[in-house]
Structures are given as C-alpha cells and as structure tokens.
C-alpha cells in the first residue's frame, strides 16, 4: 500500500548516543510527512540534533527507534536517487579530482555512456554557473564556488530527493544569498523534494514551503509553519513582505520562548 503523495514518511524517530556508559538522548519521537516536490526546512539552534536527523533520513545514521520510509520503502542504506550536500565543502569534495571529475563521481556506480555522462556534467555545471571551471581543481576555487561544485555533484544524477545539511553556513553573506536563489530555482524547475537543515530562520522561511522548528533536549518538533509565499521569490521583495516578517517574528518567539 504505497501512498504516492507521501514521498517521505518519518514515524516516531528517536536517536540516542551512548557515551561511556551513559545514554544521551538527542531526538525524541519525530514524525513528519513530506509530499513529492515539497521544500522543507528543518530549523533549530546549533547542536540540537538537526544534522543527526537529516543523516537518519539519508540512511547514514541508524535511528534508535522509529522509521524513515521513502516511497514506502524503509530507509536502511542511502536510497537511490538522492543528492546530499554538506556544510564543509573543503571536506566533501575530493581534492585530487578536478571539478568535472568531482561532479562525475556519482556516475561511478551507474552505467551511463561516456557521452551521456559528459553531457550531464556539462549541464549541471552550466546550471550552477561553473561551465568554464570544469578543468579546475577545488583548491583553485573560492569557497562559494566549491560549494557550487558540491551542489552540481548532488544534482548530476537527477535526484528525486535533495538533502542539504547547512549548505550555506561556510560561505559569506553575499554568496549565501546567491546560492539560496540558485538552489530555489533549480529545485522549483526540476520539482525535486528538498529538505534543508539550517539554523537561520530567515533562510528557512525564504526557501521552504514548510518550516519545521525542532527544539529542546531531547529535541522534538515544536512548531510547524506553512509558508504561503509566491514563487519565484526574491531576496529583496520576499524578505520585506509583511507575511515574511510576521512568520519570522513567530518563529523567533517560539525559539526564544523555549
């Protein structure tokens, strides 16, 4: 019995870590449904367990209890057709490969013709605005450009699901806005289901259809806000929209109230 509208189904997810005998509960009873093509932002203070949550969805961390299902299939290992971008581009890109080889990495486990691979790599590099930098090495690029490479790599297999773990936390403010728009446009165009983890409330509202606030220790879902702002959004207009400002105030209040 597969419910197609529910792309991702998270049920009573909990995680605790064992630390020299004592048990540290990080996440408690998180339940969440994400429908196909939806953009979800998971928001919370640093250290609250957001990264652990997204890693469990990605199949990289095993939950202590509860389940994650994608298209009705239980996630045990990283699912097919998923892209993943992490915060630290200096560690997620392979320094010994050029930009194009880094982007082509996901093809290593797939059977594609050489031509098809080449075309696809060119296409995603074009999409992130790095068409001229295919032959460069990561260390020759700025931080923002390296993160674009990481984004290109996550898109090269045309994923149905994109997971972003604080993807813009290591780049400076100006670049950050550019990358936000880049992601928003690509995801909108390709109708990719996206989950982003961020500690930045503004970023969460700006990008997402739904903002999930998690807080407390162990953390659970403390607030959900539907973001009904028109797309495509714009950094200047959307952010000064009264609705935007109101949601922001609400979220700040509940973040501080706890």
């Amino acid at each position: 019995m597969k419910d197609r509208s529910k792309h991702i189904e998270i049920l009573n997810l909990s995680k605790s870590f064992e630390n020299s005998g004592s048990e540290l509960k990080v996440l408690k009873n998180i339940s969440l449904d994400v429908s196909s093509g939806e953009f979800i932002a998971i928001c919370g203070r640093s250290g609250v367990g957001k990264s652990t949550l997204i890693r469990m969805i990605a199949g990289l961390v095993k939950p202590s209890s509860g389940t994650v299902a994608i298209d009705g299939d239980l996630v045990v290992n990283p699912p097919n057709s998923m892209g993943f971008v992490t915060q630290d581009y200096s560690r997620s890109l392979l320094p010994w490969f050029s930009v194009e080889k880094n982007v082509a990495l996901p093809f290593k486990a797939k059977n594609f013709s050489k031509l098809e691979k080449k075309r696809k790599v060119e296409e995603v590099l074009e999409a992130v605005g790095l068409a001229d930098f295919a032959k460069f090495y990561p260390w020759q690029l700025s931080g923002g450009m390296q993160q674009r490479v990481a984004i290109a790599r996550s898109l090269v297999l045309d994923p149905k699901l994109l997971l972003l773990d604080e993807p813009f936390a290591s780049v400076d403010a100006q670049i950050r806005l550019e990358l936000e728009d880049l992601i928003a446009n690509i995801v909108l165009q390709k109708k990719i289901t996206t989950i982003i983890v961020t500690h930045d409330i503004d970023e969460a509202i700006y990008l997402a259809d739904r903002v999930i606030l998690i807080s407390d220790s162990p953390a659970s879902v403390s607030k959900i806000i539907q973001v009904k702002l028109a797309r495509p959004r714009s950094q200047t207009e959307t952010r000064s929209d009264p609705k935007f400002v109101k949601m922001r105030t609400q979220l700040y209040a509940s973040l501080r109230g706890k």
Partner: protein, 257 residues
C-alpha cells in the same frame, strides 16, 4: 642597466649561494688550519681530488651499483610496507597482533643486524638489499597505516551515498587520500634506503660507494674520504629534491591547501 624582477631574483639567489659557499670555504680553511694535520686537507686539494674522482669510470660504476641496490631495496620494502600497513589499518586485531613486533624492530637501529647478516649470508649485494628493504618497510609502514586511517569521514560517507563499489572506493578515495600522506613517507624512506646501502658498505663492505669510502679511509687517502662524503651529500640532496618535485607534481592538492 635595469634588471627585470625575475632576473633580479636569480641574481639574488646566485649572490646568496656564492655567499654560502664563501663562508663555508672560509670555515673549512679555518678548521683545516686549526687541526693542521694530513687528515683534514685543505679545500683546494679536496676539490682537485673530487675532479679526479668524477673522471674515474670505476666511480660511476660504483654509483650505479649504489643506485641499483637503493632502488631494489626501496621497492621491496615499499611493497612490504603497503601489505603490512593496509593490514594493520583495516583490521584492529591484526593491528594489535603486529604493532608490538613492528615497534620493537623499529627501535633497533638496522645496522646491528649487519654482523648477523654478514655471518649468515655474507657481504654481498643481497645483504644490502635485505637490510634496505627492512629499513624501508619499517619506516614506511607507519605512514601507510596512518594514511588509511586519516581518510576523511565525509569522503567515505559520499561513497556510501552514491553507492560506489568497493573497488571504485579504493581507486577513487582510499588510494589518493593514502598517497597524500605516504608521499612524505616515500621521501623520508628513500633517503633512509640510500643511507642504509651506504652504511652496509661502510660496515661490512657490501658493494657500492660505502665500501669505496671505507677503502679510502683505511688507505689513509684523506682527500678521497672528503670527496666521497661530498658526493654522498650531493646524491642525498638530489634524492630528497627529486621526491620533493614528484610530490609537488602529483600531490598538488596537499601542497596547495
């Protein structure tokens, strides 16, 4: 005449080296005058002898023998080091099993095995190779196992996300990451390999420049001793520099971070 910045740089470097050489020569002469014995010859006589030495075909043969022994010993040692290093890094049990013996062998200066080797298999080229391989593998094994263990967690995670096969994980992630650590080990153990071939020549008379040096010393050819030592310094520097260049070419990301 005005100089271009590049030219100026070369002139500067030239000046510095000239100064280095001048000061070294002055210090040498002072030392030779203070010691004032035949065993500490003056610089000019050593340089003359050095010229004679490099005109001698036997010297070049010896040099080639030394190189051959160094390379063979290095390659065999490196193979052992990789096998042991991978085994200890990937398996905790094997690590516990082997590390105590490896550490014990590492703390013995290799030359103490020379009397044993010469007594049991003689002072042939093979002896030098065995010792060199031993020294190289004990030096390099630490780098190999560290290189494997230091592989970035995120890289391994990405391999998992994109379902890379074990083979492609090894080729695309483990080996390049390993080589960025091991290249330092290569450089250090190549120098060690050369040193060991020389040591075995000096102590038990295996073929090569080490033995020639020992002969010169026992024949009281003092200029020759100095000439050989200078040659050994040059070769040592060249080995080090070569590996440095290779490292910069192949491990470009490590150098440039």
């Amino acid at each position: 005449m005005k100089l271009l910045p590049v030219q100026r740089k070369f002139v500067n470097i030239g000046q510095n080296y000239a100064l280095t050489f001048g000061i070294t020569a002055a210090l040498w002469e002072c030392a030779a005058l203070t010691v004032n014995s035949r065993s500490f010859p003056h610089l000019n006589s050593v340089l003359l002898d050095l010229l004679n030495l490099i005109k001698n075909i036997d010297f070049w043969k010896s040099l080639i023998v030394t190189f051959n022994l160094t390379i063979i010993g290095f390659v065999i040692g490196a193979l052992f080091a990789f096998a042991l290093g991978l085994a200890t890094a990937l398996n905790k049990r094997l690590n516990l099993l082997l590390s105590s013996s490896i550490n014990f062998l590492r703390s013995i200066p290799s030359v103490v095995f020379l009397p044993l080797l010469v007594a049991s298999i003689g002072a042939s080229a093979r002896t030098a190779i065995i010792l060199t391989a031993l020294v190289v593998s004990l030096k390099l094994v630490i780098f190999v196992s560290r290189g494997v263990l230091e592989t970035e967690m995120e890289h391994i995670e990405f391999a998992k996300i994109y379902h890379l096969s074990t083979f492609s994980k090894i080729c695309n992630i483990y080996i390049p990451s390993l080589f960025s650590v091991v290249s330092t080990g290569f450089r250090l153990s190549a120098s060690r390999a050369f040193g060991t071939v020389i040591a075995s020549g000096i102590i038990i008379g295996t073929p090569g420049l080490g033995r020639d040096l020992l002969f010169a010393e026992s024949n009281a050819e003092y200029e020759r001793v100095f000439s050989y030592v200078i040659i050994l310094g040059i070769v040592g520097t060249l080995i080090y520099a070569t590996f440095n260049v290779i490292e910069r070419q192949f491990i470009h990301w490590r150098v440039n971070i």
